[in-house]
């Protein structure tokens, strides 16, 4: 009788612990973007407070970032980014929800570098679009590092560029994501 209870409790704990180790996360991932058209004026920004959670069992992954947290070198550019372009007061967050389509090829328990094909939906400025890219997953000492680059079009997300600055801002945005994940307990 006692044994059974102990077994039960142990089983329940083990099962939840096992599951918990399936998930990795960070709150300080980095997203960098760049949409420079003229070499005279670099338009680029970094956000070092990206949240990312990956479920290694299912290959599901989610990213979220506060638009206001993007830091530009020029304060005025940052103001225009928030106030005029992405309207961060109306759309404070950008989110990505996707899945690693070749999740079976990646052994998160074994050190090494793997190529991950990721497919999902990116929501920004109130618009949702399908995004697809392949990135790098590196596993080292129980930590998982994600690195990926992809491109989006501003016009897809209804971010309008006034003609006055159309020679400065490129419609194509290059995005780089870099997240060092730790086990989620």
């Amino acid at each position: 009788m006692k044994k059974t209870i102990i077994t039960l409790v142990a089983l329940a704990i083990t099962s939840s612990q096992l599951l918990a180790q399936d998930k990795y996360f960070t709150k300080t991932g980095t997203i960098f973007f760049e949409c420079t058209k003229s070499p005279l004026e670099k338009i680029e920004a970094t956000n070092g407070n990206t949240t990312c959670v990956v479920d290694t069992k299912t290959g599901n992954m989610q990213f979220a970032v506060q638009m206001k947290g993007f830091e530009f070198k020029r304060a005025l550019m940052q103001e225009h980014f928030n106030e005029n372009y992405v309207e961060s007061h109306k759309f404070p967050k950008a989110e990505f929800k996707g899945q690693v389509s070749n999740n079976g090829d990646i052994n998160y328990a074994k050190d090494g570098e793997y190529t991950a094909k990721v497919k999902g939906k990116l929501t920004m400025h109130g618009e949702t679009r399908d995004v697809e890219t392949s990135g790098k997953v590196s596993v080292k000492g129980g930590k998982v590092n994600l690195l990926a680059t992809f491109q989006i079009l501003l016009s897809d997300f209804k971010v309008s560029i006034p003609s006055v600055v159309s020679d400065k801002i490129s419609n194509t945005v290059n995005i780089k994501v870099d997240c060092a994940l730790e086990p989620l307990k």
């Binding site: 039960l8 089983l11 996360f25 005025l76 989620l184």
Partner: protein
């Protein structure tokens, strides 16, 4: 027998704990990313000035703001004076953002060849999801008239050229489109033109903006003077205008009964009356330069 029942219960229990990790859950909620965080409210005004007076906004650290202010002649002068455009006075100035909450500026107006300077510090920064819903900013400034002495036969003191002012701005960005502020102000003049003029002039200002689109706002500011010299024919200054943003510039186009472009001047030398059309067109142009292009290191 009870042990079998318990085992069954155990299997069920384990299954339940498994299924709680089912597909399509919101992974982000596991790390508490869904909670709103406290954050400062910024961009209450496009500029560090409403039109005439200081706004609750500061320029950012490392930014130098080059400001060119123009005031034309009174529009009631008619077509002969091109509705005032034949006459213009101006002020050129430089503002510097030192820290997030501190800036300063200097300028010179053609009117009275007057220099002015100010320090501006934010005591309270409006924030949402916790914190205070308004900002409190204090401004201290001075002006220096550099005209040649009108009367060289009497003893003139250098301090007579100077005036000082202090201001407290309490403002709130009530919504994305509406900002309002009040600004109690004291102006001290070392030398006043008339016995009836108060050395310490007290005024209470209000200013605000309505954002019409991403790049255009309607703005207004007005200062009510509590103890003016009633006999000298001066009025309370009122300005109404538009802020228009084009890339690196902000244009403030406005109509005002005040010609002055510093606190001493628009509080004590405004003579035009709105009701009589004694107002003039004016504009402020602001050009921001980033002077420290620091690389921000991210962890």
């Amino acid at each position: 027998m009870p042990s079998i029942r318990l085992q069954l219960f155990g299997i069920l229990f384990t299954l339940t704990s498994l299924s709680s990790y089912a597909q399509d859950e919101d992974l982000l909620s596991l790390v508490g990313d869904d909670k709103p965080k406290k954050e400062h409210v910024d961009y209450a005004f496009k500029s560090s000035r409403v039109i005439m007076s200081q706004s609750m906004e500061l320029i950012r650290p490392g930014v130098m703001d080059f400001r060119i202010l123009h005031r034309f002649g009174s529009i009631d002068k008619g077509a002969y004076e091109m509705f005032g455009l034949d006459n213009a006075t101006m002020r050129m100035g430089l503002d510097f953002g030192i820290t997030k909450n501190f800036m300063l500026g200097v300028g010179r107006s053609t009117n009275k060849k007057e220099f002015d300077g100010f320090l501006k510090y934010r005591l309270v920064h409006q924030s949402k999801n916790g914190g205070l819903p308004f900002s409190v900013v204090v401004v201290a400034g001075g002006t220096l008239n550099s005209l040649k002495w009108a009367d060289t036969t009497r003893k003139n003191f250098f301090t007579s050229r100077m005036a000082y002012y202090g201001q407290i701005i309490i403002g709130s960005k009530l919504s994305e489109s509406i900002t309002l502020q009040v600004m109690p102000t004291v102006l001290h003049r070392n030398l006043v033109p008339d016995f009836a003029d108060p050395s310490d002039l007290i005024a209470v200002g209000v200013g605000g903006r309505i954002r019409l689109s991403n790049r255009v706002s309607l703005t207004a500011d007005y200062l009510y003077r509590v103890n003016p010299n009633k006999a000298d024919g001066t009025r309370d200054p009122l300005s109404i205008g538009f802020d228009i943003e084009t890339g690196g510039h902000v244009f403030q186009l406005h109509f005002s009964n005040a010609l002055g472009m510093n606190e001493r001047s628009f509080l004590t030398e405004t003579t035009g009356q709105w009701g009589k059309g004694e107002i003039q067109f004016g504009f402020n142009i602001m050009r921001a330069f980033q002077i420290n292009k620091k690389e921000k290191k991210n962890k």
